[in-house]
Amino acid sequence: MLAQQLFNAFVLGSVYALFSMGFTLTFGVLRVINLLYGFYVAAGAFLSLVAVRDIGVPLWAAGILGAFGTGIIAVACDSALLTPLRRAKAPELSSLIVTLGGVLLLNSLMLLIFGAEVRRFPVTLLSQSPISFGVLQIGEVQLVIIVIVAVLVTALFLFIERTRLGIAIRAVAENPDAAALMGVNVDAVFIGVSFLAATLIAIAGILIGLNFNAVHPYMGEPLMLRGFAVVIIGGLGDIRGALVAGLALGFIEVMTAGYLSSNFKDAAAFAAMVATLWLRPSGLFGRSVTRRA
């Protein structure tokens, strides 16, 4: 029973980690708390759902379509909403406020267009019988989630640490002006990071949609709330912190639901966040909040 719960926690936590890594990456590089990410979760899930149900492409292709489609939407939103503010050197809170207006606008539009009802992926796509490993019952979807998240996380770390573009991204995160003087195309890095972060978040949305087999316009909000908790616990802009904190939040939630009450599981995320703010405001691995801020 405990082993099963730990496994479920791991699955949930890896989706949180994926979402939060995209979220924190954007903050680290663009210095923006982008609330549109709640919308991108739903956008990715809706795009792939439409691709599967109405166009009839296989699930893996629909996933790629959903992720890339959302990436393109994100680049469009960024150039419409955030680029003008960056040009005007507007205060950092105004970019937060503009994404706040944007997410309200897009979510309510989506609600008007698609309605509030929950949509589902065709059941035939997903194998229903779980595979048994000793005491563990592992669903096919869970297995897919773990593999996809592991591959993406590894690829992201290799990309950021080893490639030229990754070095450029870190340089821009450190200091955009200095990076520009070193010949880095800062605008291109911003676009690339928007795209990359949004695809990660869309994939998190698709995976969570598959896991619970439920897709609806407001599905991004709970993930968004947990994303806040995770990036604060992990340290704003810290990708490694987001990974660890995301997994940790999965465990905290499942344990709270299992041993206290499932009603408190959202409160648990928030309690962990407030505790972090009181005790260790710069996050788990405590790097310079002051410099980043």
Binding site: L93, V103, L104, I232
Partner: protein, 279 residues
């Protein structure tokens, strides 16, 4: 009072009371924005006030003035818990922590049967008269105007213009930020209590993220060079969907659009808040 006016007030009373409450909410947002801070917990503070007041009135039969004070105190207390750790940090932390707070409160209300759970809390006596609502609004406005010329107002202005310079001349920036947040939360709590006592029914979903953003849009549209700005913004944004019926379904879309347009095209603009620049 002429008959037509009497009829008008009777037919539109909840709409008119709503205007007053929204104006108070706009002012509560102004109190934090005036320091260049962003709280997205106004809806949650409002909800906390509403639920506190509803419980005290219905379950304990506490007198109304005391209920209003308790609602303000409850929200102010919650603001202190959130504000003390976050206000030492940069503005984004307060924004994120207050969003999180709002969602958690909503979930707590839904799961607490004592206050009606997801179905909401009904049967709250309609004790909030128009005179009480607009009287309090007037008092608050006078308070804001007299504060502008006080030590508090000057300190707020100094912090808004340049936080580092303010700190250098010996202003306790964090304490003033906390004061602003607590005042703002208390006002939102008051608005929530008033709202509960004229609509007689409250439910957890009234105090979600959408409401928080709507309250923000009051202040953003109205601008904040003067406390009258958010009041005007609240009046306009609350009245528009009533006047232009077709707009009603698109109310939230419209609020979102207002925020986007104002921030992009008037970045420092009618806001009058000069928030800290990046870099």
């Amino acid at each position: 009072m002429p008959t037509w006016l009497d009829d008008f007030l009777w037919a539109y009373s909840s709409f008119i009371y709503g205007l007053g409450v929204n104006a108070i909410l706009g002012l509560s947002m102004y109190a934090v924005l005036a320091l260049g801070q962003l709280s997205l917990g106004q809806a949650a503070f409002m909800g906390l006030g509403a639920y506190t007041s509803a419980v005290l009135t219905v379950r304990f039969d506490v007198p109304f003035p005391l209920v209003l004070c308790a609602a303000m105190a409850a929200s102010a207390f919650a603001a202190t818990i959130i504000g003390v750790p976050t206000l030492r940090l940069t503005g984004v932390y307060l924004a994120m922590a207050t969003i999180g707070f709002g969602e958690v409160m909503r979930i707590l209300y839904i799961n607490t049967d004592y206050i009606g759970g997801a179905l909401g809390f009904s049967g709250i006596p309609e004790k909030a008269q128009g005179s009480i609502i607009f009287g309090l609004l007037a008092i608050i406005l006078v308070g804001f105007f007299s504060a502008t010329r006080s030590k508090l107002g000057r300190a707020f202005e100094a912090i808004r213009e340049d936080e580092d310079a303010a700190r250098a001349i010996g202003i306790n920036v964090t304490a003033y930020k906390l004061a602003a947040l607590v005042i703002s939360a208390a006002l939102a709590g008051l608005a929530g209590a008033l709202n509960a006592h004229f609509s007689s029914f409250i439910s957890p979903n009234e105090y979600g993220f959408d409401t928080a953003v709507t309250i923000l849009s009051f202040a953003i549209l109205g601008g904040a060079t003067t406390p009258l700005g958010p009041v005007l913004g609240a009046f306009v944004l609350s009245a528009l969907p009533e006047v232009l019926r077709p707009l009603h379904d698109f109310r939230l879309v419209f609020n979102g659009l207002i925020i986007v347009l104002v921030v992009i095209f008037l970045p420092k603009g009618i806001l009058g808040f000069r928030m800290r620049r990046v870099g």
